[in-house]
């Protein structure tokens, strides 16, 4: 049994025939599409190294069956920079030494992009740390990672807005 699917990967439409329904998005990206930025750390949804954006939302690609995501738009680390211009989160990771060995970095960066778009942290370092807890870093670069996410958040969102305030006003 084969399963034809289409995906938009980093802006490019791709038609793929899966010969086996077991293929995860992570394995599809790495083994079929030569996009090895997303890393296979634990392969069980525990480390976050495989984080990608599906339709703009951060998820663990190791637990996502490719066949079930027919039609989705995928963003990987390879698709973030615009030509030579780094994405603000990439630039912030360089600025703040948000990595050492680099293995977890693509997942950290995609997770940070997703977290900032979710709009729940404001400029609160505690909320950033909590929001990034699904990405493990064995080198322990967490302090730099938090600083990098805060810097990128400020650049991408402008003045701090707390979503909770809006909810409180609605209730009043």
């Amino acid at each position: 049994m084969s399963f034809p699917i289409t995906l938009t990967v980093n802006g490019t439409a791709r038609s793929i025939v899966l010969e086996d329904a077991r293929v995860t998005l992570l394995d599809l990206l790495r083994e079929r599409l030569d996009l090895t930025g997303a890393k296979k750390g634990c392969d069980r949804g525990q480390c976050g190294a495989c984080t990608i954006l599906i339709d703009g939302v951060r998820v663990n690609s190791c637990l996502a069956l490719a066949v079930s995501h027919d039609g989705a738009a995928i963003t990987t680390i390879e698709g973030l920079a615009q030509n030579e211009a780094l994405h603000p989160v990439q630039a912030a990771f360089l600025e703040h030494d948000g990595f050492q060995c680099g293995f977890c970095t693509p997942g950290q960066i995609l997770s940070a992009v997703g977290l900032i778009q979710e709009g729940q942290t404001g400029g609160d370092p505690e909320r950033v740390r909590e929001g990034m807890s699904g990405n493990l870093c064995r080198c322990g670069a967490y302090a730099g990672i938090t600083q990098a996410v805060l810097m990128a958040h400020a650049q991408m969102t402008g003045p701090d807005v707390l979503p909770g305030r809006q909810i409180a006003e609605d209730a009043a």
Partner: protein, 353 residues
């Protein structure tokens, strides 16, 4: 992972028919199922993908005051929905205290309710487990049992149910809506999960082909919004399952408690509603003494299943702490560290009162 057939039905009726066959399993996000399949713990012959079924991804506020949460609503979407956050704040706090940002973005309402135990002997296929392979025994007993059940366990299984979300759902009298071969039916969440007894492999009341289509909160669930908390003790403050958790809600009438709700998490193979404790709260003044008595009552039947007697005292204390924080008022916003007993409640007047 064992090979499987993949089906993508376009209607609920088609899905129910396909999943009624032996060896079939429903697939939503797969955050739990695919993990278990990779480990060989679950070995379905067919996956019935329900992610394209229409109408299951909505949160509906109904005229009769109930709120219906579709089976495919993602955990993160639900937690950040303004209606949910304002009317059922303990539900939002429980959801945000579970898993990671990535997993909450994928995991669904029904998938959370149906998630499997995290007992290490269940997930280790080299260990005997009556839940995974009925009749083979339980290697957890006599093993590493710090996290295991202290209520409702049997000689055949001492595992716990891992969901945070289900704990406030139980406290708020949520109802599970099911479509099945025999038509639709509704089951209170408190009666949805089974205790292990002699058949730990039967985890819920679902029959083959049954599909959870929604979880509904009754109208009175929002009357606890002003004084609700979910507290969760974990071995690290984020991205960890509960050792013990508690969801509480109080409806105050002047200086008395008109009604109180208490449910405990990670103490049994189902979210544990503490009705005797609730009876003690009704009509009482919210004092440390009555909270201590309620906590005693909630754990009156508890007994260790191994090296976990500490969980009984821990559960009592987390009930008292949760009730104490609930009286002070629900925070305006879920704290930065959701459900942490170490986070201080925000100052000021509750937005939920």
């Amino acid at each position: 992972m064992k090979a499987f057939d993949y089906l993508r039905p376009s209607s609920i009726a088609e899905a129910v028919a396909a999943a009624g066959r032996p060896g079939a399993a429903y697939l939503a996000a797969g955050t739990n199922l695919v993990d278990l399949m990779k480990g060989g713990v679950t070995r379905p012959d067919t996956l019935v993908d329900i992610t394209r079924l229409p109408g299951l991804d909505r949160i509906e506020r109904r005229a009769n005051g109930t709120t219906r949460i579709g089976a495919l609503v993602r955990n993160a979407t639900l937690a950040h929905d303004p209606v949910i956050a304002r009317r059922y704040p303990a539900l939002a706090e429980a959801l945000l205290s579970g898993a990671s940002g990535q997993l909450r973005n994928a995991a669904t309402t029904a998938g959370n309710v149906l998630q499997r135990t995290r007992c290490a002997y269940f997930t280790d296929t080299a260990s005997a487990c009556n839940k995974r392979d009925p009749g083979t025994g339980c290697d957890a007993q006599g093993g590493v049992t710090r996290a295991h059940a202290v209520l409702g366990w049997s000689q055949h299984c001492i595992a716990t149910h891992p969901s945070d979300f289900c704990v406030p759902l139980a406290a708020l009298d949520a109802v599970v809506e099911i479509e099945g071969p025999a038509g639709p039916r509704s089951v209170p969440l408190d009666a949805f999960h089974r205790l292990p007894g002699d058949h730990p492999e039967r985890e819920t009341v679902l029959e083959p082909g049954d599909l959870v289509v929604a979880v509904t909160l009754p109208a009175e669930a929002e009357t606890f919004a002003g004084h609700s908390r979910y507290l969760k003790v974990r071995e690290r403050t984020s991205y960890a399952f509960a050792v013990v958790s508690a969801a509480v809600g109080l409806r105050l009438d002047g200086d008395r408690i008109a009604e109180g709700r208490i449910a405990l998490g990670s103490v049994a193979l189902k979210p544990w509603r503490a009705r005797e404790a609730e009876h003690l709260l009704a009509g009482a003044a919210p004092t440390p003494e009555i909270f201590a008595r309620a906590a005693e009552a909630a754990l009156a039947d508890a007994k260790p299943s191994g090296d976990n007697a500490y969980k009984i005292e821990l559960a009592r204390r987390i009930v008292v702490r949760a009730l104490t924080l609930a009286v002070a008022g629900t925070p305006d916003r879920v704290p930065a560290l959701p459900a942490s007993p170490f986070a201080t409640p925000s100052a000021g007047v509750s937005a939920h009162a």
